[in-house]
Every structure is written in structure tokens, then in C-alpha cells.
């Protein structure tokens, strides 16, 4: 029986592993649960277990040694509960299973230091609850197996409503999903259904469907935003609860209400100005438990205060001059607060730089002109601005980017100043453009329309073929093994051509790393950094 469930689980290992799309340190839940079950089955095979009690105990003992990962440990403790519950029994009836599942719930919850809802624990809890409700309604064993599977599936679908990490990732709890597969395997085995090659449908996070009392993640997130009043949560327990009636009662006295459950237990989550009314309404319907009330106004104020503090604690920020959408995005990503559009042919005014400095969120501001012709305006702006302004004389875009790699929003002004100044010269800057007229500069003659290669702003090479010229330019610079060559592709160069040039550079300088990046700058077909 356990072997059948284990085999079914094995058929779904990959699907369950795939649920770990959000970064939690529990690795591959499907694999871990399968290995845990497998060690349990080995435990049964190693003994002459015959009775229910013996089999359950052997299963648990096997998993005790073989449990893998968090999910495996909880699964093993779940099985321990079953073994305890079935202790001494030869066969089982409905009431025995109810006791065993209840014991399993206790063991599972005890197995973790701080139980978190929205996990396998919640699913185990709903299994125990649904078994109990079948016993109370006089159902038989088949009813129980079926109810347990349905309850577990529903519970798994709702895990994202209980746990924000799941909600953000848009997945259900992987351990819970694994448990559902195991339960389904057990149910199919006892009802004599084959499972060879069977693929169960994986559970989707519950969608906005109020008819069956399930809420969608969009619904929850949307309503989390109107945060005022008191966030009130509790569970109503009874034996003939009317979900619809309770929901309509709540809607009159609260907003953002979420009401889920069945006739035996209903979970309420609502926001209200007076939580007392909610509690009174709940008590009039049944017994209350898990009551939690939080003042969201306090939370909201604390949140905004924290944000304000964060703003004030910036010791320094950066203003940079750049052109081209790709290069602008890179500067922003590296932490530039205010970007001024400008470059060779568009030198920004002193006034523009002063106003960008004023907008920057700190008293001390670094300015990266990123162009030789913009340095004077940056210096003048520094003098006019009432803030403390430190102009780092970056003469090229690569120098500015290199400086930003050493900028740390959290660091103090001096640390940033030293690190950025050191970084900006720790790089070589080259560029490829086209001559706009015939000329002879520094002894190098060019004709209009020819490609010219610049190193640190000086013309060093001229040619008609951009690929050959780029290789010649880099040969001039010298590219050491282990260095990084970045080609920022300008808007006049097609992606295809950029890739061809990139490929040629990779072939020519095999010890270096080469990357081609969308720069989007005009005039320069390529801006190149070598570091």
C-alpha cells in the first residue's frame, strides 16, 4: 500500500520539484519526499510486518533513518503519528483513522520549531479535520479516503492565501502537493484502482471563485493595499455553519473580507474600524479560535516612517550625464539617482546640472560628466549648488560605469569618493565612430565616411572595415588574458553587425571575456571598455 503510494509519488517528483520556483532553502521537495517514502517502504520490506500497527511502525522507523529535507522530516513525523495512532491494531476502522490522523497532526506540528501555516502542516491539519467530520457524519472508510483527498487538495490550493512567499511566486506549497500525491496513492490502492503511468493533475493556486469560498491571490494583494482600521482574523468552529450567511453578515460591518471554510470551520479575515463587531458576529455563529487583531494604521505609519528614515540616511547620491537608452539604463541600475541626457553634441547647461543636483536625494552629491567637454559645466554647477558637490572627472562613458561599480549607497562619502576615483581610472576606454570630414589629426589622415578608432579620446587608427578596425584598435590597446572587453552597441550599428564584431573579438582575444551590450548611443558605432 505504501509502496504503491511511493511509486505514484515517484511519477510526480519532477512536477513537485518544479514548485520550488521561489528561493527557499529546502531544495527539491519532490525528491526528498520520494527518498523518505522509499526508505520507509524499505523499512517495511526489512521486517515481517503484517498487521496495520506493524506496517505503520515499520514504515515510520524506515523514514526515521531515511528522512531527507524539511519536507521529509515532517512527513516522517506524520508517519510517526499514524504509527502511534494505530498502535496494537490488526486492522482499522473509521474511528481508528481519525485518531491516527489527529495524532499525526500533533507529531507534525511538534516536529518544527515554529509552525508556519500555508505549508504541509496546514494540509495535515485539514486532513485530520476532514477525517473527523466524516466520522461525525457517519461515513464509511471509502467516504473517509475520498474526503481526506479532497480536503487535502483544497488545502494545498489555499496555501498561497496563507503564505505570502507562495503567493508572490504564484505556486502552491510543494510539500503539501507531495502529501496529496501520497494520499491519492493510498486511496487508489485501497479502492483497487491501478496507477501505472498515472499522471495526477497538479494543484493550481486557488482562483477568485467565491462560490466555493476560495480567494485568489489578486484578490488578496489588491485588498492588502487598503490598509486602514484593524486587520482581524479568526476561525469559527461549529457543526452547521452557514458560509453564505456569515459572509453577508461580515460584508455589512467590514471590508476586504475573506471568508473560507465549510460547515464545521470557517476562517475569517477582514478589515474593520471596530474589530469588536466582528468578534461578536463570530461568537454568535460558533466557537472562535486563532483570533488575531492588528492595527494597520500603526503598521502603515511605521512603514512610512521607515521609508522616510531610509531617505534621510543616504549619505551620498550620484548625478550622471549620459545618452542612449541602454547606457542610461545601466547607469540607473548601478545606482545613479539623476540622469541628464547629454554627450558630445549635446552638452547640458550648468543650470540643468544644478537642478539635477538639487533633485538628488542627499546633501553630498557626486557628479559624473562622462565627457571631457562637460567637465567645465559640471564644475560650474558644483560651485553654484548649495549642496556639497564632488565632480569626479570621468572623461568617458566606460570610466563613469566603472566608477559606479564602486559606488555603495550605504557607504560614507569618503569611502565612495576614494573607491570611485580609483575605479574610474582602472579601465581603458575606446570608441569607434565615422569621420564627418577629411582631416589630418596627430599625423593620422582620414577621409569623410571612414571609420576612426579612438583610445582615451585620441584617434589611433583609421579604416574602411569596422570589424578590422575594431580588432586593430583593441590590438593597439592590448587585451590581457582574464580581462573583460565590453562592446556598447550604438544605434547606427545593427545587432547582426555587432554580433559579428563581438565574435571576431572573441576569436582574436581568446583569453579574455567579451560581452556585447545594447548602448543605443548615437554617433559612436561602438563604445568599448577594456578592464
Amino acid at each position: 500500500m505504501f509502496e504503491a503510494a511511493t511509486n505514484l509519488l515517484q511519477q510526480h517528483v519532477d512536477e513537485i520539484n518544479a514548485l520550488n520556483v521561489f528561493p527557499v532553502p529546502d531544495g527539491d521537495t519532490g525528491t526528498n519526499m520520494f527518498l523518505t517514502m522509499q526508505s520507509g517502504v524499505q523499512g517495511i520490506n526489512d521486517t515481517q510486518a503484517e498487521t496495520v500497527s506493524e506496517v505503520a511502525t515499520a514504515m515510520y522507523r524506515g523514514t526515521f533513518m531515511g528522512a531527507r529535507g524539511n519536507s521529509g522530516v515532517i512527513l516522517s513525523q506524520f508517519l510517526k503519528g499514524l504509527a502511534d495512532g494505530f498502535d496494537g491494531l490488526e486492522t482499522f476502522r473509521v474511528k481508528d483513522i481519525v485518531i491516527a490522523y489527529e495524532r499525526a497532526r500533533q507529531c507534525a506540528y511538534q516536529s518544527v520549531g515554529k509552525p508556519v501555516e500555508g505549508t504541509m502542516l496546514t494540509v495535515i491539519s485539514s486532513i485530520a479535520d476532514s477525517a473527523k467530520s466524516i466520522e461525525l457524519s457517519g461515513g464509511n472508510l471509502n467516504d473517509l479516503h475520498e474526503a481526506v483527498c479532497i480536503a487535502a487538495r483544497n488545502s494545498v490550493a489555499e496555501t498561497p492565501t496563507l503564505l505570502s512567499t507562495l503567493r508572490e511566486a504564484g505556486v502552491v506549497d510543494a510539500g503539501g502537493q507531495g502529501l496529496v500525491v501520497i494520499l491519492e496513492g493510498l486511496r487508489r490502492y485501497v479502492t483497487g484502482q491501478g496507477m501505472e503511468g498515472l499522471k495526477l493533475e497538479m494543484i493550481e493556486p486557488s482562483s477568485l471563485e467565491s462560490a466555493d469560498g476560495v480567494v485568489s491571490e489578486e484578490f488578496l494583494t489588491e485588498h492588502e493595499e487598503d490598509e486602514y482600521g484593524y486587520c482581524t482574523q479568526f476561525v469559527i468552529q461549529g457543526d452547521a455553519l452557514d458560509l453564505k450567511q456569515i459572509r453577508s453578515q461580515l460584508d455589512e460591518i467590514a471590508h476586504s473580507t475573506v471568508v473560507v471554510g465549510d460547515e464545521f470551520a470557517i476562517m475569517v479575515h477582514a478589515h474593520a474600524d471596530d474589530p469588536g463587531n466582528l468578534i461578536s458576529m463570530g461568537v454568535s455563529n460558533g466557537q472562535l479560535s486563532k483570533i488575531k487583531i492588528e492595527n494597520m494604521d500603526v503598521q502603515h505609519n511605521a512603514f512610512t516612517a521607515a521609508r522616510r528614515d531610509e531617505m534621510e540616511t543616504f549619505t551620498s547620491s550620484v548625478v550622471a550625464v549620459a545618452a542612449g537608452p541602454g547606457i542610461s539604463d545601466i547607469f540607473r541600475e548601478l545606482g545613479v539617482s539623476e540622469l541628464i541626457v547629454g554627450g558630445d553634441t549635446m552638452n547640458p547647461s550648468v543650470g540643468e546640472i544644478v537642478s539635477a543636483i538639487a533633485k538628488a536625494p542627499s546633501e553630498t552629491v557626486f557628479v559624473l560628466p562622462n565627457n571631457k567637454n562637460i567637465v567645465p559645466a559640471a564644475r560650474a554647477a558644483a560651485e553654484q549648488s548649495p549642496k556639497i558637490v564632488n565632480v569626479l572627472e570621468t572623461l568617458t562613458i566606460p570610466q563613469g560605469i566603472s566608477a559606479m561599480f564602486s559606488f555603495d549607497l550605504q557607504a560614507d562619502v569618503d569611502t565612495n569618493s576614494v573607491a570611485m576615483s580609483a575605479a574610474m581610472t582602472d579601465i581603458k576606454s575606446a570608441a569607434v565612430t565615422v569621420a564627418v570630414r577629411d582631416a589630418t589629426i596627430d599625423g593620422i589622415s582620414t577621409k569623410e565616411g571612414q571609420y576612426i578608432g579612438l583610445l582615451e579620446g585620441d584617434i589611433v587608427i583609421v579604416g574602411d572595415d569596422i570589424k578590422k578596425l575594431t580588432l586593430g584598435l583593441l590590438g593597439n590597446v592590448g587585451v590581457d588574458d582574464g580581462s573583460l572587453v565590453t562592446l556598447y552597441q550604438g544605434d547606427q550599428l545593427s545587432e547582426n553587425n555587432a554580433d559579428v564584431i563581438g565574435g571576431a573579438v572573441i576569436d582574436a582575444f581568446q583569453g579574455a571575456e567579451v560581452e556585447v551590450v545594447q548602448g543605443g548611443q548615437s554617433h559612436y558605432h561602438l563604445i568599448i571598455s577594456i578592464e
Binding site: 528561493p23 529546502d26 527539491d28 524539511n70 555603495d408
Partner: protein, 281 residues
């Protein structure tokens, strides 16, 4: 008094050192598709990195079972007055939780103290080695525990990665997820902070990253112990180690340790990093 020290293989404790100090190392499991290995016992670092780089399966890890740890506690407990079990951060592995449960379930007469190092790799070893030295000098349980706790507070571990891919795949990326998906290619650097992986910085090239590690180590001031850790680039590690010896007391050199399969699964090839024990103020 006889106090026994236990750790796990995510401490990257070299076997010879563990043996000489009488430290018991519980292996975590490394799983390549259908094959399972006990970290360091059934799979060497060389074999592991070869499989990691060229093998068809991507490895995963899992904590030891409660039963395995119970067995170790029960074996050690036979002639010990206490057991101090120091493990990789509970925020990075289930091993600490397993050890706690094993401590509750083991039938031993002596007390077992399980400590969360809030560290990884040799960052864990800093506390383990300090505790073992005190224990070997005949100290009692309380003294060993307080030594371990005080080193936990002074331990640091930070590394340069070639890629975030392995950290991301293994779900250990923590706050360093801020380094994912940058427009420019970066060499990410991470630090273990409050038991979790956090961003240390980003470098444009591997060699600039190594330089950054050195500056970071210097930023922590004088150290009582330094380990330079690496997965595949031994020469880089040796060079970095030489550049850090000034931070140690006169005559002492940084120790060089290989990152084993357990931690290597989540870091990948070409990691190099530093674990250090800051001098007490």
C-alpha cells in the same frame, strides 16, 4: 571532563584536521539524479567538481537523517560528559533542525547542546575548531559552549562566485537575489549575514573580485584565524592567502580549505572566498 564536538560537512572541515582535533563530522547528502553520496565520505571534491561541470545531472543536497545523527550522539555519548554540536546556519540547511530533533530523541546520559553557527563553510569551522581546542584542554560543557557562541559572533565568511546560477538553483540565494539579471555581466560577491546569504558587492572581472575580497577582509581588521576557501582555483586561493597574512598574528599564515561537495553544490566551480575570525576587541 570529556566534551565531544560534532559538526556537519557543510563546515568544509578538512578530514585530517577534524581527526586531529577529535571532531565528528556528520556528512550531508549530495544527490546526482538517481545517485546519492555522503558528502566527503563517498564523494571526493575532485570527483564532485568533475561531475558538476561535465555530468548530466545537476546535484542537490539534503540534510542527514535524524536517525543518523541520533546514532552519532549515542555512540559519542557512551564516554562523554557532554556533546556540543555546531552546525551550518539553520537558514541555509535543515541540518540544524535535524540535530535538534536528534538531540531530543537520542538515548544518552550526557547533555547535548546544539548550536546554530549562522555561518557556512569555514565560517562554521571557526566556531567548531575553537570549541574543540577548548574541549581538548579539558574544559567543561559551559566553557565549550560559551567559546563556541563567542566565536559565532566574530566569524565572517564571504566569497566571489563565477555565477549566481548554482546559488539560485539550490534556493540559497537569499538577499543576494538583488544581483540577478543585471544589464552588464558581473562577478557576484556574497557574504553570510545573520545566517543568510546577502550581497557583498559586484565586480566586473574575476581578478577585481579577488581584490575586493582582500579589501573586505582588511575592512574586518585584525583576525585570530583566516581560511581562504576555494572550489577549483587553488592557485588563486594561495595567492589571496599570501596577501592576507598581515592580518594574522605574527608568524601565523592563513589556512587553505577546499569547498566540498555539500557547499559546492550551491556555489559552483571557481568560487574563492575568505572565512575569518575577527580578533576579540
Amino acid at each position: 571532563m570529556t566534551i565531544k564536538i560534532v559538526t556537519d560537512s557543510a563546515s568544509d572541515m578538512p578530514v585530517e584536521l577534524a581527526d586531529s582535533l577529535g571532531i565528528e563530522v556528520v556528512p550531508v547528502n549530495v544527490i546526482f539524479g538517481p545517485e546519492q553520496f555522503k558528502d566527503g565520505v563517498e564523494l571526493s571534491a575532485d570527483d564532485f567538481y568533475e561531475r558538476l561541470i561535465d555530468g548530466e545531472h545537476h546535484p542537490t543536497t539534503s540534510a542527514p537523517s535524524i536517525g543518523e545523527v541520533v546514532q552519532i550522539y549515542e555512540k559519542l555519548g557512551q564516554d562523554a560528559d557532554g556533546i556540543v554540536s555546531i552546525h551550518v546556519s539553520s537558514k541555509l540547511s535543515a541540518t540544524y533542525g535535524v540535530a535538534e530533533q536528534a538531540a531530543a530523541q537520542a538515548s544518552v546520559d550526557c547533555p547535548i547542546k546544539v548550536i546554530d553557527s549562522l555561518q557556512a563553510s569555514q565560517g562554521v569551522a571557526m566556531s567548531v575548531i575553537a570549541a574543540a581546542k577548548v574541549a581538548n584542554s579539558g574544559a567543561g560543557l559551559d566553557a565549550v559552549v560559551s567559546t563556541a557562541m563567542s566565536t559565532v559572533e566574530r566569524s565572517q565568511c564571504f566569497v566571489l562566485l563565477d555565477t549566481l546560477e548554482f546559488l539560485q538553483r539550490g534556493g540559497r540565494i537569499g538577499k543576494a537575489r538583488a544581483l540577478i539579471g543585471t544589464l552588464l555581466r558581473i562577478k557576484p560577491m556574497i557574504i553570510v549575514r545573520e545566517g543568510e546569504v546577502d550581497t557583498l558587492g559586484k565586480a566586473r572581472t574575476y581578478s577585481k573580485g579577488v581584490e575586493f575580497l582582500k579589501n573586505t577582509a582588511e575592512g574586518f581588521g585584525d583576525a585570530d584565524e583566516i581560511s581562504v576557501i576555494y572550489s577549483t582555483e587553488k592557485e588563486v586561493a594561495e595567492q589571496l592567502a599570501r596577501s592576507l597574512s598581515d592580518l594574522l598574528p605574527e608568524g601565523k599564515e592563513p589556512f587553505i580549505a577546499r569547498i566540498g561537495p555539500g557547499v559546492g553544490t550551491h556555489g559552483g566551480p571557481r568560487i574563492v572566498g575568505v572565512a575569518l575570525l575577527q580578533s576579540a576587541v
